[in-house]
Each structure stands twice: as structure tokens, then as C-alpha cells.
Amino acid sequence: MRSNEPSTTWVICPAFNEGTTLGRVLGELHGCGYQVLVIDDGSSDATSRIAAASGSTVISHPINLGQGAALKTGIEYALAQGVERVVTFDADGQHRVGDVAGLLAALDREQADFALGSRFLQRSRTMPLLRALLLKAATLFTIATTGLRLTDTHNGLRAFTRRGAAVLRLRQNRMAHASEILADIARSGLRYVEVPVTIDYTEYSLSKGQRAGDFLMVLLDLFAQRLYR
């Protein structure tokens, strides 16, 4: 039987058509004793079935809403269940389960409410040059718009305390949510810390990831939000 301890930390795994990698990722997470909440974002493949079979809690969006919306669904549900800490973890296999413990430890050690994974605090041998440049640009953009001095602004591996998760509005359904999370962290004035994590770039994770052109759409989304409210 599970003890009370792991259920106070939930790993939220947004997944959209991740049937090929999800089973392995969930297996590793459960193997380390984490309680996992999978948000199936309107997948057309076996994502939802694989998640349920792995023993995860599964919430399925009836239609595809985007990763930001999936994270919000997961965080909202987890907070309603009285969870103390949430971890966000991409389903495409680019993160290492071993890094989760480091994030959680950093929350405790630094008395922080946000622990953000960074792939630039240690060397990654598999990162393509174009991706590195794109992420560098995103870093400068973040310093300019939020004042947060981070080395990696678009890393899907993060840990929040309950208090931290509650300040995230996540109104950007699509990819702009990564910048939005940082803006909310800056606005909240709560403590954040960066933790080195390793990203495994595979052909699969690169094909599912963002392309350089998406950057323009993200900017447009963020601009529209400024006008909107």
C-alpha cells in the first residue's frame, strides 16, 4: 500500500498523442514511487489507455486544448485534492526521472516555491545548434519582459509548492504558457531556484518539440494578451 508521503507530491504529465513514449516514462515515474496525474489532451492514439493501465490518475480533455491548458487542468485538480507539491514532466521522454528528486530537494533546501529545470547549468551533448540559439533568444526575451535571470526559460521540468502553483494563471492555452509561467513567477515575488537537469534530445522529442517558427506565434499570443486585459 502507498504511504501518505508520495501522495503529497504529484507528477503532472501533459500528453498529446504520446503513445510511443508514455508507457516507458510512466513506468519509470511509478518505479520511483511518484503519484502521477496524466492529462490526455484530446489524443487520438492510445495515450489515455496506456496512462490508465500504468496506474496513473487520468484526466482526458474532450478536445485538444494545448499544453498550457493541460498543465492548468492538472494543477487545478491536484490543488483541489490537497496536494502539497506538483512537478510538471513532459511525456515525450526528454526528461530524466532522476532529476525530479533534485527539484524537490531544491524546493526544501532553498525554501523556494518554484524549482525550474535548466539544461544550461550543465553541458548537454545532444543539443542541436539551432535549438540552442532559439533558447538563448528566449532567455534574453525573458530578462527583458520579466526581469527574471534564468539560464533556461523553456524547460518542461518544474516543481512548484502548493503556494507557488496557486499563483499560476495559465491563461495561454498553447505554447506561450512557458513565458506566462515565468511572468507569473516574477509577479508573485515568491522565491524561485534553477536546478540543473539533463534533456535527452531524441529524434522523437525534437519532432514533437517547438520549431523556430513557433517563436513568432508565441510573441503574437503574448502581445494579444497585453491588449486583452
Binding site: 500500500m1 496506474g55 490518475t57 487520468v58 484526466i59 487542468t73 485538480y77 494579444a224 491588449l227
Partner: protein, 141 residues
């Protein structure tokens, strides 16, 4: 004369629309009234637009109307975009509420999870409003 009559009719239609729309959105309605009245004046007194254009330094009256038209279109486009965004947010809330109401909880953890207040058991459907994790008020309003 024929063109003037047709355009006047169209603009009168816009005026009627603005009148009907006034209660829903006074700003859009008053803007439509101003634009269509200006249009009516320009249709029946074409020389006036040339006068105004020369006054602001554009040259031909047609050019003035063209520029104004482009501006109005862009404003309408923006308005439409914002409306779509609002729509998307409402759909998101609705979809999220449906999704959370249908949460599938792994059966092996039922005993531990049922101790948590506000959580129903292994059932994938909410048993009742007070035990549902959906929290309808927070979600929809």
C-alpha cells in the same frame, strides 16, 4: 444616381443594424452610426470628401476613404480576434470541467484516496454535486 441609391440603401441597413445592436454593445453601435452617416454624406456630396482630404493633406477623396477603410478593417479584425480568444477561454473552461468530472482514478489507490475529503472512489463519474471534484462554481463562473 443608381450607385448612390444602392450604397445609401446599404448604409441605411447598417444604421438599422446599429440601432438593433445598441443594447448589446453601445460602443460598436455608435461607431457604426458615425461611419455610416459619414458614408451617406460622402455619397451624396462627393466633393466634400475631396475637401476634407485636401485639408488633411491626402489629395484625392477616394484615397481618404480607402485609408479610413483599411483602418476600420484592422480594428474590426482585432475585435474579432479578442472575441475569438474569449470564446476559446470559455470552451477551455467547459472542456476542463467535463474532463475533471470524468477523472479516472487507478483502482489500487481507492482506499487511500477515498480518505481525502471531496473525492469520490474509483468511479469515473461524479456521484453527486457535493462529492464531485469538479467544483462547478469555481470552474464555470
Amino acid at each position: 444616381m443608381i450607385a448612390q441609391a444602392i450604397f445609401s440603401l446599404l448604409l441605411c441597413g447598417v444604421l438599422l443594424y446599429a440601432w438593433a445592436e445598441y443594447r448589446r454593445s453601445p460602443a460598436v453601435a455608435s461607431m457604426s452610426v458615425v461611419v455610416s452617416l459619414a458614408g451617406l454624406i460622402f455619397i451624396w456630396v462627393p466633393s466634400l470628401s475631396t475637401g476634407v482630404a485636401e485639408f488633411v493633406g491626402i489629395g484625392r477623396g477616394v484615397d481618404l476613404i480607402l485609408y479610413l477603410w483599411v483602418c476600420i478593417s484592422l480594428i474590426l479584425l482585432l475585435n474579432l480576434h479578442l472575441k475569438l480568444r474569449t470564446q476559446e477561454e470559455r470552451i477551455t473552461k467547459l472542456a476542463r470541467a467535463i474532463a475533471i468530472a470524468n477523472t479516472v482514478v487507478p483502482s489500487e489507490t481507492v482506499t487511500t484516496l477515498s480518505e481525502v475529503p471531496g473525492r469520490q472512489g474509483a468511479s469515473s463519474r461524479p456521484a453527486g454535486a457535493q462529492t464531485s471534484p469538479m467544483r462547478m462554481d469555481d470552474q464555470i463562473v
